[in-house]
């Protein structure tokens, strides 16, 4: 859990970097629930994504889960490292395991703070 991040109820996190681009990943809670991640299917750079809709898939040995975008915007970069080594989602969900970077106009208002997200996962 990292304080300056915002979280969706679909267990994605969003971090806005100094260049104004949003970095998106899945939370440690989600990674834990999934088990060992063996495959990620991500949108391509240039793709438009919208909050709450499917933007890819994440597979563990046990299951396949849809990946939902936490924000509206356009994908500017895909983390090739996580495509090549999906286990980064487990070992470093908030850092090396980021998924996509997104240019955006505004953040959805229903994203959660770290505190609220923690409460949400424990409810």
């Amino acid at each position: 859990m990292t304080a300056e991040l915002l979280y969706s109820k679909d267990h994605e996190w969003v971090r806005v970097d100094s260049d104004g681009v949003a970095v998106v990943g899945v939370t440690d809670y989600a990674a834990e629930q999934l088990g060992d991640v063996v495959y990620v299917d991500l949108p391509e750079a240039g793709a438009d994504i919208s909050a709450g809709t499917e933007m890819g898939e994440i597979e563990s040995t046990k299951s396949v889960s849809d990946l939902f975008s936490p924000i509206d915007g356009t994908v500017t970069e895909v983390n090739q490292a996580v495509v090549d080594a999906p286990e980064l989602v487990n070992s470093s969900p908030f850092d090396e395991g980021w998924l996509v970077k997104v240019s955006f106009a505004a953040l959805p208002e229903d994203l959660l703070s770290a505190e609220d997200y923690t409460a949400f996962t424990q409810s």
């Binding site: 088990g35 060992d36 495959y39 597979e59 040995t61 046990k62």
Partner: protein
């Protein structure tokens, strides 16, 4: 709908202290993994893994006609099995479908244990009771008082020798030689701390290994004793890796590759049905009357890349005609490519046949291969 409370095994607090993630499996709260299911999978292939399988059912049959009752109740000829041996068999419906797949152990001329899948244990006990009614044999469902712990992997024998054959092990009646010389699908009986202990060289992982049956109250102390003796060589393993291990080994899972709407022959299990060596039994008529000519057949499929076709994915031929569906599929941790089992039309079962799996809307080229995907060296 009323939500039923999950049942738990005697080892639940042990699993919790090990940090297990739990899942609801057939009404039981069972460890799905402790840390990493890939690491647990690899541990079983390379060294050894420790599993709590106490959710499985143990149904005893005792009496002068116990063997005859099982010959009537199951698809195999259990009366021909020697004492000290175990055998894979099927419990069939009247129509020849599969109610469950079971392992039967013969403890004495007049005493057998049928080990059932957790999801079917109650149904199996009921069926065996009904089917044994005309015989001089008593059915005793000991599932609620029997724990099952498995040690699976190439280091299993060494670990059992260290844990159970030293001076203060608490084991009587099973010695080091008994374990070393025990062949596959054989078992030995003894006592552990004065209670009945059965150690069998059986498993569901495709590796060498043992399954240990003890009364519930001894499960935790036996687990601890194995853990201490196993040290770095023994990794606690959850049900997630049990599934990927059995799938690599080409072993069927009830509800996926076996079911009431499937004849044994469709699942490659014709050899388990003793049509020629014994008399009437439940399911014989159904199996004999079955027209299998257009029935789907179980095959293995492999693909390239990392994206696996999962259960329920449709399978098509290269001309786009639907020819079947996948029943189990995963990215094989050992082999590094996707593997799957599928029921397909009899016309496309030849090894090497190229097919297409529909992986959630995307086509994945797959190829028919012989099972198993993985065999130990």
């Amino acid at each position: 709908m009323v939500e039923q409370a999950l049942r738990s095994t005697m080892l639940e607090t042990v699993h919790e202290s090990l940090g297990a993630t739990f899942t609801d499996f057939a009404g039981w709260r069972m460890p799905v993994r402790y840390d990493s299911d890939l690491a647990e999978h690899a541990a079983v292939r390379e060294r050894a893994g420790l599993f709590d399988l106490s959710h499985m059912g143990e149904i005893h049959l005792r009496g002068p006609q116990a063997a005859d009752a099982l010959d009537h109740a199951l698809a195999g000829k259990l009366s021909a099995m020697s004492v000290g041996r175990a055998k894979y068999s099927l419990l069939l419906t009247q129509d020849g479908g599969v109610i469950d797949d079971v392992i039967t152990y013969r403890l004495a001329e007049d005493h057998f244990i049928v080990v059932a899948n957790a999801s079917n244990a109650e149904v199996d006990a009921q069926e065996l009771t009904t089917r044994a009614a005309g015989f001089d044999a008593e059915v005793d469902d000991a599932s609620d008082r029997t724990a099952l712990i498995a040690v699976q992997g190439p280091a299993s024998e060494e670990i059992l020798l260290r844990a159970l054959t030293t001076g203060d092990s608490g084991v009587e009646g099973i010695g080091a030689e008994d374990l070393r010389e025990m062949k596959n699908y054989r078992f030995a009986e003894g006592t552990y701390r004065g209670e009945q202990l059965l150690i069998a060289r059986t498993g569901y992982t495709g590796e060498d290994g043992f399954e240990l049956y003890v009364p519930d109250e001894l499960a935790a102390v036996l687990w601890e004793q194995l853990t201490v003796a196993g040290g770095e060589d023994l990794t606690p393993c959850g049900l997630a890796c049990r599934d990927t291990l059995r799938l690599e080994a080409g072993m069927p899972l009830y509800g996926h590759e076996l079911g009431r709407d499937l004849y044994p022959a469709q699942s490659g299990m014709a050899r388990v049905v003793a049509l020629t060596s014994k008399g009437d039994f439940v399911g014989r008529e159904g199996v004999e009357a079955a027209d299998l000519s257009d029935r789907p057949v179980l095959v293995g499929l492999v693909a390239e890349g990392r994206r696996a076709a999962r259960a329920d994915a449709k399978v098509r031929d290269t001309e786009g005609r639907e020819v079947g569906a996948i029943t189990s599929g995963v990215l094989s941790p050992t082999l590094g490519h996707p593997i799957a089992m599928a029921f397909v039309r009899p016309t496309v079962t030849e090894v090497g046949t190229e097919l297409i799996a529909d992986v959630r809307g995307k086509d994945l080229p797959v190829r028919v291969v012989a099972l198993p995907f993985y065999s130990r060296a």
